[in-house]
Symmetry: C2
């Protein structure tokens, strides 16, 4: 049914992708350090799952687009969180979607919405399915007669390119590589590279306020959004292409972050950019995390807008093979399609020097002068930044190795203003380390990097490893993870951060997190808006807000 | 009652502010060119207005904060649009606010909201009252027992400054100069300078998505907003201070642009900046508007982020005394608190040269080298940029001279993507010029500048002058203006622009504009959200959307 390369239904990435020998060596060492099982729980096979028979019957006109194959139902039952992997290893998926549907155009989506309205179905918009927070889960609460996962993979075209305004009209189901491939002949790029880039879609990025790889300036997908076309249960809502506007609250900002609860994002105009030609970079060591933070703060407040300003704390640097565990490391880089970056890098390095950073001056100099050829691009891919990027895209695969071996490996991310960062960083490390010890009986590892930096604060990204089980006891590991996750949510929220800077809310970030963070009246107001667009609450119920029970409020009251 | 310097109740600015002789000479010439009356309608006096007796009775506990003086009622009856001035000159204000109230704290605001709910009053949040689109008008439709304008001028403090994150907690009623004065000792600035800067407030800026003076990067007030505290009829809604977030749709973005329909913005955390120390600028002539546009587009897409990139079309340049009517003029400037701007200016001038721009290279060079002293600041104030700024702040006063003399002088502003700009610019000039001829019988003048530029398009700002009446016939002039305004709204909207880039919607931008531009479903969804926050529709009814008739929908249904 699907037209795409087969994905690993129980873990991250392509089914035919394997770890490299050196990755496996590294991970083996990690397991022995953190403490997991001697043997791995074996990878599940499709025939090990006994799924309940699908409820309901597809509408005749769309029947050819529906699938109830085990592969389709399993790959659409969960996202790609740690918990999702563990549950797959348990071979127990109690409530997969009854059906997965692969519509090919808006007419079919409209028919689907009409059918769902009549038949009482819940619909789950499904882009790449890479949610790490329970954002596409099929086991929804509420009085729905069946649950259908709506896979938008056929909405994968770049429909129009406007090279003058540098914008492109892109369908919501386009994967990162699909849209970049279509933009490349125009020498354009969206330049939005989340870690899930290969497997996630434009519509998913918009629905979840995804963050890209670049550290400043254009951090979230909404910074690129010029207009959005959303097909809601109440009809089509399409904003106007505008470079800027002051006409009422932004229509796009209602949809951005709505996580599938308002409708399907079928297409959007995105601001794209010329492909970078000039680069400059340096890798900087700091003996002291506080000094490193001060340097990053100075850079972030200097309006220099580095493309990368990724501070790794000492442990994170060591785990990434760029430090000895004593130094913090700042990966600093600039990119431009327009001009050489000598002045930008020079000023940033002055600021770095002011705060005691040390770097290889020759390498920084070389980074400037090998910048204008294709060869340089290849060099760039092989340098520190390139190594980082490979590691960045490979990292999610590591969980496929670690989870079966009983290691809890997870991340959480946030943002906080600079004035509170020191206290926040210490507080998070304390709270999560304590939770790990309490739940697992031994110490884990917790490291931090900044993924994005703003003039008023950084976006810290935490990675932790903890002993989940040494006996293949997946349910026990899952329950330990839940407690650690809840402790992380609570600490982040109580210490003043946001429950997510770019991973979205889904289900997993509600308890202890979003439900406390978001102003209660705002959540009620958002529910009021949703009530208009999706009166029956059929769209992705349970993420972000509680969906009113079916029939409890009636529909369309505000339109009447 | 008010604690501020007296304002001219029927026109722009301070009551004791007068035109300079050279300004008067210039304006006299303009009247004779455009064609107005030989004599001016005399300025109205307060005692010429017979206002209806105020309806209702203030609540006893707040009675001391209420005023029904003629001055207070008149200064709160309208904003400062062209139509508002004409109507004042007619000495006829049929429906002023019954009362003006000057609350001093949130407790009083809360009591006011409770009283309004019981008494059936409509409340109009009033900041500086500088709306040019009918945003604070007291003559509201609907079943309200009385109308109260709520002046927030006592909410004028900077409550807290966080120099580390560079942010400040500022009350909603603080005028531009008030908040800048409070930030200056910290060497900080909000650096948001709308043309109304002296008379408008932070809360007003947020409610209307105001645009500042700077051309790129941080164009609208929302770019600076870290969090907002809004007192709604349903209670307090306060977002969290965060440098960035991906947790659901942004709560702040619901309030930004809500134009007083959701509640009172009592305070907000704003990102502030170090005061600029380095400057660079050039004034560039282009023989051809298309080449000038291409140059501006190249600069806007180069990620150089000039503070000023103000392109004046040939007529606009001439009217501003910086051109001969044949050349377009680009006022280009960079500012930084952190670093010299040589590389930035040099690259921008390369782009300018690529498109045939000409400039005084010595002056550009000098702009770089006189930058680090206080003396330079004084020079800066006196140079081209300084002259521009003075003119910018003085211009609204000119209408005090022109309107009584029968000249229609007005502006409208928008944004449009680059690919459509040529067609848009021609189309707007055609449509508005035709409307002026049709309504007034003679040609007017219509000029254009870019106030802001984005990578995907400019924000063109149009100024027009037309013969309104040569016999002091204010009603006739008003009706001519209405037709021209409607033609402008319609042309902007039909040609694909936004009805406002930074002046807001109010009432005047609804017909032919916002009502067509905003997606119908979005407007319904916004109404759904508002229904939760302001169930009775008491807050500034009539702007942005139609307010449901009182009692028609019941309240709080979604909270129950």
């Amino acid at each position: 049914m699907a037209h795409r390369r087969e994905l690993l239904f129980w873990g991250w990435g392509y089914a035919d992708q394997h770890l490299l020998p050196q990755e496996e060596t590294l991970l083996r060492e990690l397991v022995s350090t953190v403490g997991g099982g001697a043997t791995a729980v074996t990878a599940p096979r499709l025939d090990e799952f006994a799924l309940p028979a699908p409820r309901g019957k597809p509408p005749a006109a769309l029947a050819g687009l529906f699938s109830s194959s085990v592969y389709d139902r399993l790959t659409h039952a969960y996202g790609k969180s740690f918990a999702d992997g563990v549950r797959m290893l348990q071979r127990a998926v109690a409530r997969p979607p009854d059906w997965v549907v692969f519509p090919k155009n808006e007419d079919q989506l409209e028919m689907l919405l009409e059918w769902a309205d009549i038949s009482g179905a819940a619909l789950i918009p499904f882009g790449g399915g890479t949610s790490v927070c329970g954002g596409v889960e099929s086991a929804v609460e509420g009085d729905y007669s069946l649950v259908v996962s709506v896979d938008l993979q056929y909405f994968n075209r770049v429909l129009e390119v406007d090279p003058v305004s540098r914008a492109a009209l892109i369908e919501g189901g386009a994967l990162g590589p699909e849209l970049e491939t279509a933009l490349r002949p125009h020498n354009l790029t969206l330049r939005h590279f989340p870690q899930s880039f290969q497997f996630s879609t434009l519509g998913g990025w918009i629905a979840t306020r995804a963050g890209g790889h670049y550290a400043t300036q254009y951090t979230h997908i909404e910074d690129f959004v010029e207009s959005i076309r959303t097909l809601t249960p109440s009809g089509l809502m399409e904003s106007r292409r505008l470079p800027g506007s002051g006409a009422g609250p932004s229509p796009d900002r209602l949809v951005v972050g709505s996580e599938g609860t308002l409708g399907f994002i079928t297409r959007a105009w995105l601001r794209v950019q010329d492909r970078p030609r000039f680069r400059a970079s340096a890798s900087i060591r700091f003996g002291d995390m506080a000094a490193a933070c001060a340097a990053v703060r100075a850079i972030s407040q200097a309006a220099l807008f580095p493309s990368n300003c990724r501070l790794l704390d000492p442990l994170e640097a060591m785990l990434n093979g760029v430090g000895d565990g004593r130094n913090a490391v700042l990966v600093l880089a600039f990119e431009s399609a327009d001009h050489p970056l000598d002045a930008w890098l020079a000023r940033a390095l002055e600021l770095v020097a002011d705060h005691g950073g040390r770097w290889d001056a020759d390498a920084a100099e070389r980074s400037l002068h090998s910048s204008e050829t294709d060869q340089n691009q290849a060099q760039h891919r092989q340098g520190t930044a390139g190594a980082w990027r490979n590691q960045f895209l490979r990292a999610p695969y590591y969980r496929n190795y670690l989870t079966p071996r009983g290691v809890i490996a997870d991340t959480f991310e946030t943002a906080i203003t600079w004035d509170r960062f020191d206290n926040f960083y210490t507080g998070i490390k304390d709270a999560v380390s304590r939770a790990i010890r309490r739940e697992t009986g031994v110490d884990g590892m917790l490291s931090c990097r900044f993924t994005h930096v703003y003039p008023d604060g950084p976006a810290p990204y935490f990675t932790f490893y903890a002993r989940g089980t040494d006996s293949g006891d997946m349910p026990a590991m899952l329950s330990r993870w839940r407690q650690i996750k809840l402790a992380a949510n609570t600490a982040v929220t109580e210490l003043g951060g946001t429950i997510t800077h770019h991973h979205a809310v889904g289900r997993d970030h509600r308890p202890g997190g979003y439900d406390q963070q978001a102003p209660a009246l705002f959540r009620a107001a958002f529910a009021g808006a949703r009530e208009v667009l999706d009166p029956r609450g059929m769209m992705n119920p349970g993420v972000l807000i509680d969906t009113p029970a079916r029939g409890a409020t009636g529909g369309g009251i505000l339109l009447s």
